[in-house]
């Protein structure tokens, strides 16, 4: 049997529900510019009806908390693209520094020094007994050696800078995973659709997104709302309330930091995020450029020295090494050849321009000059080898940049899509505001009406 007070309690329940809805709307409006915030919807349910014998009467509305509007798959896609984007970004940043060392469009650099060097031998052939011409060969040789030295040293210092960034990135990863483990613990202890759970989830996704910038992650959602996170190749990062810190240790053979997880070297297992980009530059691209540079330097040094020894100097003595000979750290490796390149002779009369010991004879100087057109490394001329080295660096940067641009477009699109779903629209919130306000007013009217009826009744009695 329906009662007046029953109606009153339905109206009061409605007042509570509309208040809850208004709270939610107000919270949404407040967070309109909060990064990572997903809009919330009030969960309004029909209250279970009251059974009074044969008839059951509606029991109004229940406010069952709030729910964040979020597309988990979309969040995952955003994280994946973020990983790729940041991998490319950090790679391009590092390799841009490398390519600035090979800026041949300015007309300076190694190729210019190379041209001057061989040209100086041609000029020496012009006048093989001329001391200033001989001095010019030594200066040009020193310039060439300095160009190789500087480029080699700068490559090394870029590599060391990248290595430092690797260490910093690992620290940031550890701080993010620790935060996520903490959030996991908090979330799993909460139940239901409370505002707090929504807030913690928003935080989870914000930190996860920041972690995705650093490293590639694979995420598993547990029922209690906690996240299990590993790298895509299975390096454990977070499980429940526990995080697995990564550590670094200097590799004695390279001098760079290797990354360890639980005592295992996992340096080569990362495929995305800033970390992977840095590692790619540090362990692959820069070493490859450096080794090409070393091989080129060694090729020039060996060929010039070999030919110098075949000739005779101005005193009629057998020629000696023009450059300091290459010292191979291990057989077959020219590592350090560029960085240690130096001219071995200081006395201009020691240049072996003559092929028969006659002072004015120039045949050996001509052969030395023509090394420019002969194969010195990998069957290629120095110029050809160097030009392909530079174009390789350029290609590395330009293809990564292109890829970065296209990933950026995808990412913008995904983020727009995320906003489509989860972003706060003030228009929508305003409309909801009216809706809930009117409902609240109506429920209040019901209370007033019941008040008036009961008051009439009491007066009648």
């Amino acid at each position: 049997m329906a009662t007046l007070f029953g109606a009153l309690s339905i109206a009061v329940r409605s007042l509570y529900a509309q208040e809850g809805a208004l709270d939610t709307t107000s919270n949404n409006i407040s967070n309109v510019n909060t990064p990572g915030y997903s809009r919330e919807l009030p969960i309004l349910n029909e209250a279970p009806p009251l059974d009074t014998g044969q008839i059951s009467i509606g029991n109004g509305v229940d406010f069952d908390g709030v729910q964040s509007v979020r597309d988990n798959i979309l969040e995952l896609r955003i994280d994946q693209e973020t990983q790729q984007q940041n991998q490319l970004q950090s790679y391009v940043n590092s390799m841009n520094q490398v390519q600035s060392l090979f800026n041949e469009t300015e007309g300076a650099g190694i190729s210019d020094a190379l041209n001057q060097f061989f040209s100086s031998f041609q000029q020496l052939a012009d006048n093989p007994t001329d001391i200033p011409s001989r001095q010019a060969v030594i200066s040009a040789g020193q310039d060439l050696a300095a160009a190789f030295q500087q480029t080699g040293q700068q490559l090394g210092s870029i590599q060391r800078g990248v290595d430092q960034e690797v260490g910093q990135t690992v620290d940031e990863i550890n701080s993010d995973t620790a935060q996520l483990a903490g959030l996991n613990q908090q979330i799993s202890s909460l139940q239901g659709n409370s505002e707090q759970a929504g807030m913690l989830q928003d935080q989870q996704y914000t930190v996860l997104n920041s972690l995705s910038k650093l490293v590639d992650v694979a995420v598993t959602h547990a029922n209690n709302g906690s996240l299990t996170i590993t790298s895509t190749n299975g390096v454990p990062l977070v499980a429940g309330g526990q995080n697995f810190s990564l550590s670094t240790a200097t590799d004695p053979s390279t001098g760079f930091q290797d990354i360890y997880s639980q005592g295992t070297d996992v340096t080569s297992s990362f495929t995305g995020g800033q970390l992977a980009g840095l590692l790619q530059a540090r362990d692959q691209s820069i070493p490859s450029v450096l080794s090409n540079l070393d091989n080129l330097a060694a090729g020039i040094i060996n060929t010039v020295n070999g030919q110098s020894k075949k000739g005779y100097d101005l005193n009629g003595a057998k020629g000696t090494n023009f450059f300091q000979p290459v010292v191979q750290p291990t057989p077959g490796s020219n590592a350090g050849a560029a960085e240690n390149m130096a001219v071995a002779i200081t006395d201009p009369s020691l240049i072996a321009a003559s092929s028969d010991g006659t002072k004015g004879e120039n045949a050996n100087a001509l052969v030395l000059a023509n090394i420019q057109n002969g194969a010195v490394v990998n069957g290629e001329t120095a110029t050809d080898f160097y030009s392909s080295l530079v174009s390789e660096v350029g290609n590395d940067v330009s293809s990564a940049t292109d890829e970065q641009e296209s990933v950026g477009l995808v990412l913008t699109q995904l983020q727009n899509q995320r906003s489509d779903t989860s972003g706060v629209s003030l228009d929508e919130e305003a409309a909801n505001l009216i809706l809930y306000q009117r409902a609240y007013e109506a429920a209040a009217e019901v209370v007033a009406a019941i008040n008036s009826i009961t008051s009439d009744f009491i007066q009648t009695v």
Partner: protein, 295 residues
């Protein structure tokens, strides 16, 4: 359908793109190059490096040629003087062969012939920028010295060496003729011929034979001298070829990395227009929402 309520992201992405294009156009215009770093066009930069090496080689060849031209011209004009002197010697021989002359007259001619020999000795020791022109590759050794023990009165101290110089890729030219192939070649030794003429005139016998010997030496040097003439003309041809190549290389360089100013300028205008439009559109992104209309 729900519409993305946050339009600023698209606008910012658009602005970044416009600014990047504007930046690119300005860089092209200010540097005059469309390729400013290897990643702008790796293939063009590789081509540029090869182009620079070729340009440098061409310029080196040109400088080789111009210094070679100096010594070649000097040698050529020296030989010209030698030929003039020998012509004089021949007319002296003809004069000496004249039977109306007495020994006193011939002795005077002997003095003249000896003077000519000294003159030619000086020519044969001619140097250019500190290097003897006719000493073979021993350019620091004076090639001819007076030597009383020699029948010709001089002896050759140079060598038979010939230097060469590159004037193009794979193109080398010999740069000198050693004195042993000019003045003291076996069979036509200038100094021997003049010495023989001198002693024939002094003794009054065998003058026609000595005259023939001088004539032969004259013919020989005249023939050898064409080496300098033909090399000089080869150098001239090479110079114009190399200048042409230089021009082509610099055109190729412009094609590889040079900016097309007209295109770059119109790209700049386009980028600026796009930027203006994006900014104007961005300024209009609704400053209003439904909330403004609820009172």
């Amino acid at each position: 359908m729900r519409i993305n309520p946050d339009l600023t992201r698209d606008m910012l992405a658009g602005l970044a793109l416009d600014r990047q294009q504007e930046d690119q156009a300005i860089q092209e215009l200010s540097t005059g190059r469309k390729v400013n770093q290897p990643s702008d066009n790796p293939a063009a930069v590789a081509g540029l490096i090869v182009n620079n090496a070729q340009t440098s080689a061409v310029n080196t060849y040109l400088s080789n040629i111009s210094s070679l031209q100096g010594s070649m011209q000097e040698a050529d004009s020296t030989l010209n003087s030698v030929i003039t002197s020998l012509t004089q010697a021949i007319s002296l021989a003809v004069e000496g062969a004249n039977g109306t002359l007495n020994q006193t007259d011939r002795n005077a001619i002997v003095q003249e012939v000896n003077g000519i020999q000294q003159q030619i000795l000086g020519y044969a020791n001619q140097s250019f920028q500190g290097n003897y022109l006719f000493a073979g590759t021993a350019v620091k050794t004076q090639p001819y010295v007076a030597d009383s023990s020699s029948s010709s009165g001089v002896s050759y101290k140079g060598n038979d060496g010939v230097n060469s110089l590159d004037i193009g890729d794979g193109q080398a030219v010999p740069t000198n003729l050693p004195g042993s192939q000019l003045f003291t070649a076996s069979g036509s030794d200038v100094f021997q011929a003049l010495a023989d003429l001198s002693s024939a005139l002094a003794s009054g016998s065998n003058i026609p034979a000595a005259e023939t010997e001088v004539q032969n030496a004259f013919n020989y040097i005249n023939a050898q001298r064409t080496f300098y003439g033909s090399t000089l003309s080869r150098l001239n041809t090479a110079t114009s070829f190399l200048n042409e190549e230089n021009l082509q290389l610099s055109q190729e360089q412009t094609n590889l990395v040079g900016a097309d100013m007209a295109t770059a300028a119109s790209q700049l205008t386009q980028a600026e227009t796009a930027l203006d439009a994006t900014l104007a559109a961005g300024g209009k992104i609704s400053q209003y929402s439904l909330l403004d209309y609820l009172t």
